[in-house]
């Protein structure tokens, strides 16, 4: 029983990592209706920027804010320069673009900061949280930040004009244009926000997995899994999906004898496929709001 509780708690802690990343994935999906394969690398690069700032003596929170701003602008710039020209191109062209971006960012980070792992500070400390030796204060902080981000996004999309406009631009672009929404800029804004959220995810994940150019490789796969499981159109679903994948993965690894450990990832993916077959929109699929 103790092992069970421990694994569930450890799963929630790891799930927070996936949830953070899944939020960024959902964000970009809201804006462009595609998954961005370079999302993890963009987050990694942002994290390196903040690390570099701290190396230069900038305080954690100042570096955090600067990185957020930098990521937002960089996200918009990438959309304007690279993907706006591809807007009318087939999906596969876009995918090729994402993969190219992935390789370029990964290699440049390696070139600039090399591949040895780096320690990344946490603002929450890493003492045991509330006496529990299984979740550290950092992981608790991470869960807190994820929930805050989620609430923020919920209000943004539900109650602000610009949030509604962004959703409209993504789901029914023609009608959105007819009511006077600049859909092209909405997409750019989506990129900026997704990149900024990704940078938060990166800065929260780095203290756990250590900072290096390949740190997001595994995380992004699970982040995608979490987002698909929860529903690609629902930030709330993405977060729940993240925690579910984290816990499920640990329990499968621990209790399914023999194969469990080696098949952790396939089991998580099998779960997703089953969900998609039964409920294609994911657990918390798109709530369609028709009026803008």
């Amino acid at each position: 029983m103790e092992l069970f509780t421990n694994q569930v708690l450890a799963g929630i802690a790891t799930g927070a990592i996936y949830a953070c990343m899944a939020l960024a994935v959902v964000m970009i999906y809201q804006a462009i209706d595609h998954l961005n394969f370079a999302q993890g690398e963009m987050a990694m690069f942002s994290t390196f920027i903040s690390w570099q700032l701290m190396q230069w003596g900038v305080s954690y929170w100042a570096a955090f804010i600067i990185t957020l701003a930098f990521s937002f602008v960089a996200g918009i710039a990438i959309e304007r320069i690279l993907f706006k020209p591809l807007a009318k191109a087939p999906v596969l062209t876009n995918v090729a673009g994402f993969i190219a971006l992935f390789a370029i960012i990964n290699s440049s980070a390696g070139l600039i900061w090399d591949f040895t792992i780096k320690q990344y500070p946490t603002p929450f400390g890493s003492a045991p949280f509330l006496g529990s030796q299984l979740i550290s204060t950092h992981q608790a902080g991470m869960i807190g930040v994820t929930v805050l981000l989620l609430l923020g996004l919920y209000f943004f999309f539900q109650y602000t004009r610009i949030g509604l406009a962004m959703r409209a631009a993504a789901s029914v672009p023609e009608s959105a244009r007819l009511v006077g929404i600049n859909t092209s800029w909405m997409i750019a804004l989506g990129w900026g926000m997704a990149t900024a959220i990704g940078s938060i995810a990166g800065m929260l994940i780095a203290p756990v997995v250590f900072l290096e150019p390949n740190m997001m490789g595994g995380v992004l796969i699970y982040g995608f899994a979490a987002a698909v499981l929860g529903g690609l159109s629902s930030p709330f679903g993405a977060v729940v999906g993240g925690f579910l994948v984290g816990v499920f993965e640990n329990l499968a690894g621990t209790y399914i004898p023999g194969v469990g450990n080696e098949l952790k990832l396939p089991i998580a993916l099998a779960l997703i496929i089953s969900v998609l077959v039964v409920k294609p929109a994911g657990l918390f699929g798109r709530h369609i709001v028709k009026r803008v």
Binding site: Q7, F115, T116, K118, V209
Partner: protein, 408 residues
């Protein structure tokens, strides 16, 4: 024609003298493809891109080292022409690059190609072509197999020898230990595990839990939780640097304090222990065969000074906390030693012959007492290790230099 007689007489005297001085050297120069009066072509394959690109610095260090050798006059008057290609750690690409090196660039040998899967992919090819695959950069045990693969030779202590040393230590000092093992689920991890079990022999049941992880996992936290709850009091940590740092940190976070054995693969202070936190790494036991450049005890060591001078002049942008830079420095000296010994007989056969007759060779950078030794039946050049324990901010050596030769 008195002058002629004098000259002939001098020639005869010189011949007699050289024959008397040396029984090995022949006046005739012998070359295979890739060697000439002025140059020796050396091939190399490294993962400059892709998942293992962190090791690419080894190739860069070697390139810099051979530039130094050339600037200082070369080897027996011949310049080294070092041709290094990228295989992105992908075996099919390694095959392509090896063919290119052997058949199009026509190198004398391929030196220090990196990684177990890439080297496995070209081993048969190199042996059928009879081109030396010299000092491969991998710790797998199978490279020490001169009978089946006379053209392939390892370099560093192999994984099985290393884990046998830990096993012996545990049997001697902690005979009642309950051991938990975490290993990376691939050839590297399994090689270590096999050596460890062989070392424990009939006492292999001391291992109460074996857990493995995949490199695709973002963190190994849940494995550490599992190992802790198994009740193990000795932890053998067979992980690569990133995961090793995670394990050390997680152990401290969840308050698990077993006797911790960390494989040499991750013994670097700069790239593992420091990121994981010095306070979390106290009393970890590992082993080493060369000097960790970030270890303060070597600050004024002559080898370390030579290393720093070399880097200042030929590779100033090198990351001096990276143990791979030291590795490249040492293994390059190994190649230079072999080529020097070849003299004017630069055939592939003689290269292997000289490589298999290294006796107590001590390149700069190895730990005191560790020596390079080979023979026609021993293709494991370095097979000695020093047990070390982490204290404060440095590794402390303890016990004698231990050796354990395991064949492939």
């Amino acid at each position: 024609m008195p002058a002629m007689h004098v000259r002939l007489g001098a020639l005869a005297a010189a011949l007699a003298l050289s024959a008397a001085l040396s029984t090995v050297a022949s006046a005739q120069k012998k070359y295979d493809t890739g060697a000439s009066d002025t140059a020796i072509k050396i091939g190399n394959i490294m993962p400059y891109s892709g998942p293992a690109s962190a090791y690419g610095v080894i190739g860069k260090t070697e390139e810099a080292y051979f530039r130094k050798i050339n600037a200082e006059g070369g080897i027996n008057g011949r310049k080294i022409n070092f041709i290094s290609y990228d295989d992105a750690y992908s075996p099919p690409k390694t095959v392509e690059q090896a063919r290119k090196l052997v058949e199009s660039d026509e190198v004398l040998l391929i030196f220090n190609s990196l990684g177990t899967p890439p080297n496995s992919a070209i081993q048969k090819y190199m042996n059928s072509k009879k081109v030396p695959q010299l000092f491969v950069a991998t710790g797998a045990t199978k490279w020490n197999d001169p009978k089946d693969f006379p053209w392939t030779m390892g370099w560093q202590p192999n994984y099985q020898s290393e884990s046998q040393i830990y096993a012996k230590y545990i049997l001697k000092n902690h005979p009642d230990a309950k051991i938990g093992v975490l290993y990376q689920n691939d050839d590297y991890g399994k090689d270590y595990l096999k050596g460890f079990k062989d070392g424990l022999g009939t006492k292999a049941s001391m291992i109460i839990i074996e857990d493995s992880y995949e490199v695709s996992e973002p963190t190994i936290d849940s494995h550490i939780v599992r190992l802790k709850s198994s009740g193990a009091d000795v932890f053998f940590n067979i992980t690569t640097p990133k995961f090793a740092a995670q394990a050390i940190k997680k152990n401290a976070e969840i308050g698990w304090k077993p006797l911790h054995f960390l494989n040499n693969v991750s013994a670097s202070i700069g790239s593992v222990i420091k990121p994981a936190g010095f306070e979390n790494a106290q009393d970890i036991i590992s082993s080493q065969y060369f000097k960790d450049p970030t270890d303060p005890q070597w600050k004024n060591d002559p080898a370390m000074k030579a290393w720093n001078e070399f880097l200042d002049k030929y590779y100033p942008e090198a990351n001096r906390a990276d143990a791979s830079v030291m590795y490249g420095f040492i293994v390059s000296q190994g190649l230079v030693q072999v080529l020097k010994a070849c003299g004017d007989d630069l055939t592939r056969e003689n290269v292997m012959k000289q490589a298999a007759s290294l006796k107590d060779f001590e390149p700069l950078g190895l730990l005191p007492g560790v020596k390079v030794n080979t023979s026609p039946t021993d293709f494991a050049p370095i097979s000695q290790l020093q047990l070390i324990r982490f204290k404060g901010e440095a590794w402390e050596r303890f016990g004698d230099v231990l050796s354990s030769d395991v064949g492939g």
